[in-house]
Amino acid sequence: MANPDINKYYRRNKLPHIWCPGCGHGIITGAIVRAIDQAGLDQDKTVVISGIGCSGRAPGYLKFDTLHTTHGRALAFATGVKMANPELNLIVITGDGDGAAIGGNHLIHACRRNINITTVMYNNSIYGMTSGQFSPTTPTGSLATTAPYGNIDTQFDVSNLAMAAGATYVGRSTSYHVRELIDLITNGIKHQGFSFIEAVTHCHTQFGRKNDLGGPMEMMEWQKENYIPVKAWAKLSAAEKEVKKTRGLLKEEEREEYTDKYLALIKQVQAGEEKNG
């Protein structure tokens, strides 16, 4: 049930937001707020950090300690904050350009370390703010302002990337499947370790228009048809699997969390010092 007090998490004097009418970024941002609420995080002890791009603007609307950093570096800033004070809850908001291209290195290494940060990637398959250049998640063949003859690049499956790099919680859903998205983010926050939630979303302004995909509703219908629950997806034919993608919880495993390991190391070396000294 929705919390009637949900407005306390917004900086209401900063709204309405800058995103286009019908933009999925608002849906995902709302989902993050509800997930923070459902997970029961202390508002005072929660830090939301973003990079650059349309997604980068989200923290400005959220009433926490918030940091709008440089392009691609949100996870690196968050890593410093979390290391310095492991009691803080860290939420990182990134995009497909911000997190999978310019910030891809920080993403894979945050996964590898299993540091307790929840990352939500707003994946709209395009650089929206700079007006529609292709990103690492733009489908091959799609048109973009920097792919006027069709994109020849191969697409990243960012959830697969996060799983391969060692993230211990990975989920994917869409702006259409908002309830599932809220649950995935909630459980990602509760998970002790690095959690990555790919929030697939529609950019009708920069991606949809260029590729004749219609408006927000048409693009959300496409998500509904093409993102399939993990179990149902497994039963699809090989040909269908080429086109359709999984949604839901993709990975959950236990592995010692990075700042816990470091705190244990501090204890160990301090005890050793006392013994020797």
Partner: protein
Amino acid sequence: MPNKKVEIDAPDWCKGCGICIYRCPVDVLELKEGKIAITKPDNCIGCEMCELICPDFVLKVVEK
């Protein structure tokens, strides 16, 4: 009877995208001059989809 109903919490933020209308499983909402309006409140089943899907945090489903 459902014990919840939709309300327009922040009418000024509505950008008139219509996503709430598209996702409403019954027939409650309409766009009036580019802004959302609750035209058939009695139809509301209190499912909260409109609140969750609204990209502009305009709608709220509250206790009756």
